[in-house]
Symmetry: C2
Subunit: 340 residues, 2 copies
């Protein structure tokens, strides 16, 4: 399967996630306990991966699986990082408002690039670094509050701790992604075996979180397993399946592509959601959304197009017959060309 | 003289132009007839160029000058294009408000690139085309009305004629620039002789315009030459000298560099003016200004940095001693490197 097909699918599912979540609300609030959704998504991913692993066992050549503890014990680490990230996120929101937090969230793109370079030792060309920064700038541009909207002095007037925590949370979510990629690529175990380990711990940590919430709330709504499916509708189940599927696609990308590909698909998904919201929830289209889309498209092309396509003079300047010939050759040799 | 030194000087003078013009107003209005400023600037440019031409004559080898009419008659054309442009601009403003007009003005960057390719047959790489589009996107981003400001539905709600005329005016101002570059480069006449021709016609057309205004106004303020210097202060003279000097720098760039360089310096000047206005006229700094600056800097680097710098892997990935060695070589070979 081609990585860019998976990336495109991830973009579509991620953007429908936002829309489904909105649709699953009834007059602006959830009829169900949203904290139960990630838990069920983990369980869904675990079931799918276990099934696929079982199928691999029935194949002539059984899957590669590393089972010693020194390797298995690494798999809870992403969940632990996400746990810390959630608390930092919570702390950040006590200092800055949500729109400022959303804007700072785009830092994640750049921090992912940096950790990708530092921990995974991937080399990026100058142009690719510029593309990553432009992607962050593009997504930020699309989120600039339009004129006529409420004043956003808050953006620059938050306390320093707010910005510090915002940067920390950008680093943590980047770290979780980069660490997962490291886990998936460190050996060529079966993807499904790696998933089973990842999602087992994922399910456990989500369960622990639900239980913690119950203790915090003094069990006033009863234990979480009793109200697990309260108020679940069709859309709620679609939210769960959607979230689960995106998770499976992400771990596929982590093994066979990389974090930067994932960052691009989720950023594109964010823009796609904004465009769809114009039609679905008749949001007002803004100039900054249009500009953001152009910037992100440029960034996408800069990052993934082969250098020859970018810096060579356009083929049109060469003598005609040869040029036509060369075009066809280029196309056949460089699949990326088709993205142009 | 290096072209990028001239370009930097043009940026500084162009941005001080906006600031001086604002300073030359007294409580928000001009005490003098602003229409007289371009005329005096043309006269200033004509005097300077004539003097420099005269100096060239006293040199051992006299300047190259083509004097036959079939060549001279081409020099009023830029003035004629600007004349048409001014009227189109006037017509556009009857359909769209000034802020929409300002936003559409950024189209000039892209149209310049297109006419540059079509009329002057210059080849641009894919990356350079992207850089030009990004420059336009960046300047537009910096001008997006901030939140809390007046609503800008006007941006999308203007009549179609408004947008058509906006595009036409972008094409006309690009055409004037590209045609001037063609004039300056078509033969290797002395720059000063070419300037003398250009500014003689420039002065004549500005004079004609002043006279036309008088006829339109029924000479109620008397003929233009009587009120030429009415209400002129020190800053007014600085505005004139500044406008004249930028004109001289532009024609230098048209002969020894090109339109794209000019577009970059004037775009950077626009951003510089906005930054200075924060300090001088305590404007509120906006997120979109910051984003616009980042985008334009990226664009600048994409357009002018040598491809090798952009698409090669960073030198740091090679073995240490060689890498250090290579850096020094690169630097010495590629002046553009220093812009990095």
């Amino acid at each position: 399967m081609q990585w860019y097909f998976v990336a495109a699918l991830l973009t579509i599912l991620t953007s429908s996630q936002g829309i489904l979540t909105t649709l699953s609300q009834s007059n602006g609030r959830y009829k169900y306990d949203y904290a139960t959704v990630p838990f069920l998504a983990e369980v869904f991913k675990l079931l799918v991966s276990s099934f696929l692993l079982w199928r691999e066992f029935r194949a002539p050549n059984p899957p590669r699986m590393t089972t010693e503890w020194k390797c298995v014990r690494l798999f809870p680490i992403p969940s632990i990082i996400y746990l810390i990230h959630n608390n930092v996120q919570f702390a950040t929101l006590t200092y800055v408002d949500t729109s400022t937090y959303q804007i700072m969230g785009n830092l994640k793109i750049v921090t992912t690039g940096i950790l990708f370079r530092l921990f995974l030792r991937r080399k990026l060309s100058n142009l690719q670094w510029m593309a990553i920064v432009l992607l962050a700038v593009g997504t930020t541009t699309s989120q600039v509050k339009g004129c006529g909207e409420a004043s956003c002095d808050s953006l620059f007037s938050a306390p320093l701790q707010g910005y510090m925590l915002g940067i920390l949370s950008a680093c943590l979510s980047a770290l979780a992604g980069v660490y997962t990629e490291y886990l998936m690529k460190k050996n060529n175990d079966s993807l499904y075996w790696q998933n089973v380990q990842l999602y087992t711990f994922g399910a456990i940590f989500n369960m622990a979180r639900l239980l913690l919430d119950d203790f915090r709330g003094g069990f006033e709504n009863g234990p979480w397993w009793q109200r697990l499916l309260n108020g679940y509708g069709l859309t709620t189940w679609m939210v769960v399946l959607n979230l689960g599927s995106t998770g499976l696609l992400v771990s596929w990308l982590m093994k066979y592509a990389d974090n930067i590909v994932k960052v691009y698909s989720t950023s594109m998904a964010m823009l796609l959601t904004m465009v769809l919201s114009i039609y679905l929830f008749n949001f007002r289209p803004t100039l900054q959304l249009f500009l953001g889309i152009v910037i992100c498209m440029m960034s996408l092309h800069m990052y993934f197009a082969p250098p020859s396509v970018l810096v060579d003079l356009p083929v049109t300047v060469k003598a005609l017959p040869e040029s036509l010939h060369e075009v066809s050759i280029d196309r056949s040799m460089e699949p990326n060309n088709q993205r142009k």
